[in-house]
Symmetry: C2
Subunit: 321 residues, 2 copies
DNA sequence: GCAGCTCACAAGCCCTGGTTGTGGCTCGAC
DNA sequence: GTCGAGCCACAACCAGGGCTTGTGAGCTGC
């Protein structure tokens, strides 16, 4: 990471995009509740920061230079990500007495939901209050059953009675180790029984990830005694870091480690035999008709986007360590 | 767009991610060249901004809360985008006497190259100076031929002699109009001849987009007299905005307008008959062996990522107008 | 020629975000 | 038990960024 000192802050980027759209500094300022002078100064310092002339100031207004046009497009990408973050924050705050209460498992909340929420917001307008609660799949199901959430998103094969569900995406779990681990060098696949007999870093019981893992191992290596996990953590990120620190192999969602695999910080271990580590991400609601209103919109968005954008977006996430 | 006031600035996000990784405020501060107090204050104000407790401060260090873990993941997405922007800025600055001179067409530069450059940088380290020049396809080819660029990226079917090329991705052009346009309401497809006979907002001659369009129309409707374009602009963004403002239909890359189509700001018009508006995005270099060194790395990255990430990333771009 | 729009320059003010200095707390070593 | 080394928080101080208001200059069009 370590952003160089040439990247303007979010406000300046937003302002730049607005100037590009409106076509004048003063006009952009008016939209932002700023004076023309303030905008002018900000743009000037942004240009100084970037080191390239971005705007062609004329007496008729201000237009982008070629480089400016490029930058604006790139900036839009940053702002889009920030917008997702914003949607997520608003949901987590849950201040505006939200009409829509959503509960989601960690995996969904971490990697998919922000995009859905951002989209929901552009569709329904910013007034649509969404309250988001993040729990493991089991607890999410309980919340929806208890009526404390209108809509839930869970992973894993089982569901308590009293819930209806629709699959919104499919996720794949993979086994990863740090490059120093002996499995990283193996050219042959690791046997399912060997994996089953190894102490792993895992999510806690009750999480969808853990359940899928346990079932797959039970099915593929029923005779192997499973050791106790070397660590049980409740956050994907924490597991990822424990693995990076050498705590042992872990089984994680592809989307969570894709970038680490690409950059070589983690190595994906092939497993012999048919170990089914796919799992479905599902939207759930109390038994009965598909919910109406914003809940229905969110469900639709989830189904539309999950397949197309879900995993792909993750690929563009940058390095951390 | 219009980011709400709950989003911390990039530095705070970066700091938050670092705190999460390092596990202590002071430790993160050391990495940043800041005092523990400064980090503490920043995190406190970030929490106030977000409205949610993000960190669990203990005497042994500082760990993330559940909400914090979510936010950090989302923040990573923002930082990844910022990192791409950063890579692009560095390339456009072209200050550090770059060993690698790249020329790219607008389409490639706008939508694909930042990701490639960011990736290149994580692979080769930040010292790899890249100089980026953005021109239309014709000019890019000329630059590479003249030896002024080591590597070029162009779209469109033709190439001057003396260049070798490899296809890195395929792009699709689409016809778009604003929702008010009469074509937007048509349920039947527009005939190729009708499109050919309509004044469009287009890129200038010499651009790959324009060339593909002209050829496709000539092939599909050879007898139709083509009117002069209603506008000729050199930037995709400018065309997009002209169309939004009602200047007429335009033919643009899918990736450039995908989000507008999703949100309904623009409507995609179906064209009858076989109008082939696909085009290949190609990496080019002076005739001879595939270039070595960083140029080779960039080519590889482009081929790896283009198919997978290229268009998908665009889908997550947020609204503008 | 004036109204209306554009942008730029200058002076002043406030508050953000950094610093140093200090203190409280807990853990681990001796 | 005591001391040192971490960790964090609170307080006072200082500099500079970023905003405002006030002003001027240039082009366009009625």
């Amino acid at each position: 990471m370590a952003l160089s000192a040439h990247v303007p802050d979010l406000t300046s980027l937003e302002l730049l995009v607005t100037v590009a759209r409106v076509g004048s500094l003063g006009g952009a300022g008016r939209e932002f509740g700023l004076t023309q002078q303030a905008v002018s100064a900000r743009m000037r310092s942004a240009e100084a920061l970037v080191g390239v002339r971005l705007l062609r100031r004329g007496v008729r207004g201000t237009a982008l230079t070629d480089e400016g046009a490029m930058l604006v497009d790139w900036a839009r990408g940053v702002l889009a990500a920030a917008d997702e973050l914003d949607a997520a924050i608003t949901a987590v705050r849950g201040d505006r007495d939200g009409r829509l209460d959503v509960a989601a498992s960690f995996t969904v909340a971490e990697f998919l939901l922000p995009g859905w929420l951002a989209r929901l917001r552009t569709e329904l307008g910013p007034e649509t209050g969404v309250n988001l609660v993040v729990r493991n799949s089991e607890q999410v199901a309980a919340l929806v059953l208890a009526g404390e959430a209108d809509l839930g998103f869970v992973e894993g094969p089982t569901l308590p009675d009293g819930l209806d569900a629709v699959t919104v995406a499919t996720d794949q779990l993979v086994v990863v180790v740090p490059p120093e681990h002996r499995w990283a060098r193996r050219r042959d696949a690791v046997a399912a029984a060997e994996l089953a007999g190894t102490a792993l870093v895992t999510r806690e019981r009750g999480s969808g990830t853990r359940l899928v893992l346990d079932r797959a191992l039970d099915a593929a290596a029923p005779d192997t005694t499973r050791p106790t996990p070397s660590l049980e953590l409740s956050a994907t990120t924490a597991i990822r870091q424990a693995v990076l620190a050498g705590a042992g192999p872990a089984v994680l969602s592809t989307v969570a480690v894709q970038d680490d695999i690409e950059t070589g910080r983690l190595v994906r271990v092939r497993i012999a035999g048919e170990l089914d580590l796919r799992r479905e991400l599902r939207g759930i609601w109390p038994e009965g008709p598909v919910p109406a209103g914003p809940a229905r919109s969110l469900l639709r968005i989830a189904r539309q986007r999950a397949g197309r954008n879900g995993t792909a977006r993750m690929g563009s996430r940058a390095a951390t360590a």
